[in-house]
Symmetry: C3
Subunit: 453 residues, 3 copies
């Protein structure tokens, strides 16, 4: 039987996540009462970049479940020096040393690659700037504990909305659960267009201008935006020229500046947002919980640490029961009843040509052995739409002009209706007409006019 | 309920220490028979500087108690790089990952800071040159096992008595238990005045010259000194012009040169003391046990390793049962009957002005976030004595000229009887008259003569 | 009672190894069913050079046995910086922290030194280029599982046969079990003469030229050689001018280029051997299993990973049950019935002169404290043969001209019959006549002719 992995939060259906929450509730109620769940089982932490907090959180979860832990905090130094591929490493560790692998890696898509080869479950504990699904689960679980049903909650996302992986993943997950987002970006660090696009396309979320008067000083300098999965015509009933009015916030999710991701000049003129006592006095925040994925620097003043609304330390602590639930599920000791998450994209190996992934941090580019480039294809849901393709590892969207068929040797436009009949594993992604012809493809279409259809 | 911590050996009363010894005796008798004591509990080793021996000793103790271990041997690299404060780290780790924290840090006072924030017990496993209470406990425990009652024992402290933290802590603890100290320093590395002063003030220990003829070659080049908590008039019965005669030694505690703490020139001319076969033949050492906190370099010759008096490897091994006792107590699984150690000093936050701690290695200076400077005030026990103040983290004594009151805005001399009425948390420590007046204080006293009283 | 250690594969008799295989079979059948074997026991991994795979394999084995693990992945940094000797470290760790020590060290002979001092069993997890007995056991165990009786098997050793420690150890062990070796070296990386010599002297193995036609492309560029412990007169029945014909191979053991051991020029002209699909089609390999100690680089093509004959990932996985057996035996929880391996060489301390070991990587040269040079003496089995001597740590053969007696002060030739009467612990190994006389020895023999006998 194929092992089940947790590479992306999308690997879990909403119902599965809700079931995991229920297990986590049990674990949190009495963390030391569950050592009978995984005795004799072993989890290996393979950390190719240091992250003590995440590692200890997983290891604590496994110990609480009565299992054992193999800890490799410094894989980069020890293993890569001998030139072993990630694929071989997980085949060895998963082949007999451990019953599950927790993987942290600096390359995007590394966990997906590991999952392809590992005989035992792989849990993604962060792959570069890509995904960190248990962090997202932990954040969602905190909302569940503090607020109950996530659907319809109003959640402020504040700070660096441009570079923070954590906040993007959280935004998608909130939208999936039907929560509304109030974006309060650090000026210059607004939510990027590709995130907004995905929110729009997958969840029907449309941004509207937000009236942030009642958000107080926190939003004083930001262009605040409201993102809701509600239908626009409903929304229009409640908005006027000033935009949707923020009245009551359920949670403020603050993020630190991702200083490792940008040049310091970007932040030189405006100081970073800071959540302090005065900001929490805003009318709309009267019973909002304050969240932060930690570590924080100065973006949350310690003067609010003792405010009962500040839950960021509880939030971190709840990472243990939710990871206990994940481990228990993947190790086959917790039975979930919910159906699996449906697969939205077809994945196929790249049959011809170079690796089409343009991302230099993708594992398909950084790993020199045992990587077969793969694409994930999203077919149009309506006629006239274009087929889109993504790197199956790092999820970066591919940029291409035409699609060739490896058997017919014809090439087509991405919006061609002919693509409906082409098998995913026959697709060749071509930059332009010249490279198509150089690779031996001819234009498709009855007239062979030189213009593919 | 507030967690109990072990930051300093002074956090334990003598009776508590004796009870811990009894538990350690049980653990040592059959180390593998106690795995039922802490199952399901977790200790996190947070080591900001490497110390494999100490770390493994604690982790062994926890495993012997049936508990689990989270091990972070390299906190400096992993955590500090993300700019997280020590306070936040212990709040997260102690908030849900672990049931106790063992902390090793290069800054003095770090464990005290951690204990302020941690929801679970913090055990100081060495904070710079400050304290390492479980090492001291281990040393005392060895005396207890080898000699029974510590009171009245004659213990030679040999080697670097100037820079060795271990030997200072051990000296205070021995004095507290009523043992006598024979100081045999490496020439130039005599016991510092501030240590002698504390021994004198807290335990009434007065140094007398010692006649070291019967100590043999070990003391040949040293100015040997005898420190005893016995009353001086009793002592005088036994001393003459040559000083107290060393007749029978119970233990020799040898220390290595703390080469990391001084310039090599300090030791260039005289070679370091070396305990070898010949030295052990001294009459007074015929049944002295030889102790060393390890690691040793050349200060103990390997030729005496097999001498039954050499117990330094047993000494290290006994670190495990005594740490089992500490863990068992702090995790609430061993009930002690002895009353808690009384608190000698009042601790209060610094209400005005800069951090008064002059120690650049103090955590209050090295940590940039979440540190509130605090002072520990020792009020005079007799009229005419001065009030003294110490950094509450690193215990360094503060140097000040006057004390101001933050409410009356008057300032006083440290020996003023007015201080008896001033609350500790109102005290402002002032360098001199000028800075007092610059900070808005005026002299105290009925005449307002300009001279404070 | 003296602890038993596993420093060399020669520490185990063939019958003991066979018993360990039977225990490993049980463990492999149900790895999680044996947690009752070592509860309350602790193994310490002391790794002075990184080797995550080996470390995790041992730690997994101990966890599967229900025991605890102390992990020190970076001993070099933490311990050596304080100047502690290896001898002291193992006395401390083995004195009370752990019930067994797994040691990885960069110096040859380190595990032998550790075993001299440790109160608990030491397991050699690799000492420089010297030995790695559990790797060899794992390799043998795989043959046992895949092929049953090892005696009489034909095993191809391919690749770098010159620098690979692993392949030398495996070759000795195969010869000891009575298997035949087919050497297929990378050109220029042939099996060294000292290995062939030991195979000849200890096991009566004589190399013959091999006819490798039926080995196919794998052996196309190599001078293939057949090594068999069968009697040469039997062999001659089956060989002709082309040499012994390779007809049916039971296993191919592929090794990676030991690039850390030679200058890159050595491999610049010929590319390294590569085992790929085409090579596996050779007639003689039709049911050979393919083994590799891992990590691999390019010497095994990933296209054969899915071939059922490729067992290298299973091979690695089987390292866990065989290490469970080793740990269980050394911790005294598995009772073996087989007699101990006989000791072939006398070991004695060097009584005079400098350390005779010429190996700069030997622990007797790299360790500055607590090393007493020792020699292992192999006395001639027939008159006229010379006495040979080896460093007792790294096994390097000593080069000497004469042997002096520390009591008679005479010196003798290595083939002198007088040596039969000389005690091993009286032997002094002398480079030449001049140095013998400089050290105060005179020639032996009745005539005192100046020529020793």
């Amino acid at each position: 039987m194929q092992a089940r992995h947790l590479v992306s939060i999308d690997d879990l259906s909403l119902d599965e996540i809700r079931e995991l929450f229920r297990f986590a509730d049990e674990f949190a109620a009495d963390p030391r009462a569950h050592a009978g769940l995984c005795p004799g089982m072993i989890v290996a932490s393979l950390f190719y970049e240091p992250s003590t907090r995440t590692r200890l959180s997983f290891e604590s979860a496994m110990l609480r479940l009565g299992g054992g832990v193999l800890s490799a905090a410094d894989m980069k130094v020890s293993s890569t020096s001998k030139g072993e591929s990630l694929a071989d490493t997980v085949r060895v560790v998963g082949g007999g040393y451990a019953d599950a692998i927790v993987l942290r890696h600096s390359s995007e898509g590394a966990a997906r690659l590991a999952a392809e080869y590992s005989p035992v479950p792989v849990i993604n504990a962060g792959d570069g700037a890509h995904e960190h699904p248990t962090q997202t689960l932990c954040d969602l679980y905190n909302l569940h504990v503090e607020r109950g049903d996530i659907k319809g909650l109003d959640v402020v996302l504040a700070g660096d909305l441009k570079y923070s992986r954590t906040v993007h993943s959280f935004a998608y997950a909130l939208a999936r659960f039907g929560a509304n987002l109030v974006c309060v970006p650090q000026p210059g660090f607004e939510m990027p267009e590709y995130v907004l696009q995905r929110l729009r396309e997958e969840f029907g979320v449309e941004p509207v201008r937000a009236d942030a008067r009642r958000l107080g000083s926190l939003a004083a300098k930001s262009d605040t935006m409201y993102l809701t999965p509600q239908k626009p015509h409903q929304l229009s009933l409640f908005t006027d020229a000033r935009g949707w009015e923020v009245e009551h916030v359920d949670a403020v999710y603050m993020t630190r500046p991702q200083t490792e991701r940008y040049r310091s000049e970007e932040l030189s003129e405006t100081a970073y947002l800071r959540l302090e006592k005065q900001a929490l006095q805003a009318d709309s925040l009267r019973d909002a919980v304050v969240m932060h994925p930690l570590p924080r620097r100065d973006e949350i003043s310690e003067e609010i640490d003792s405010d009962p609304r500040s839950i960021y330390f509880k939030q971190a602590a709840r990472g243990v029961p939710i990871r206990m639930a994940i481990l228990g599920m993947l190790l086959g000791r917790l039975e979930l009843e919910a159906p699996l998450a449906p697969r939205v994209r077809d994945v196929a190996a790249v049959v011809e040509g170079d690796n089409p992934c343009p991302n230099p941090s993708c594992i398909s580019r950084t790993e020199t052995r045992h990587v077969l480039p793969r694409v994930a294809v999203q077919r149009p849901s309506r006629p006239g739409q274009s087929l889109r393709a993504f790197c199956a590892y790092c999820s970066r969207e591919l940029d291409f002009g035409f699609i060739g068929c490896s058997t017919t040797r014809h090439f087509h436009r991405p919006d061609s209706s002919d693509l409906g009949k082409m098998r995913t594993d026959h697709m060749v992604f071509l930059a332009d007409r010249e490279s198509a012809q150089a690779q031996g493809f001819s234009p498709a279409g009855p007239a062979r006019s030189g213009e593919p259809v």
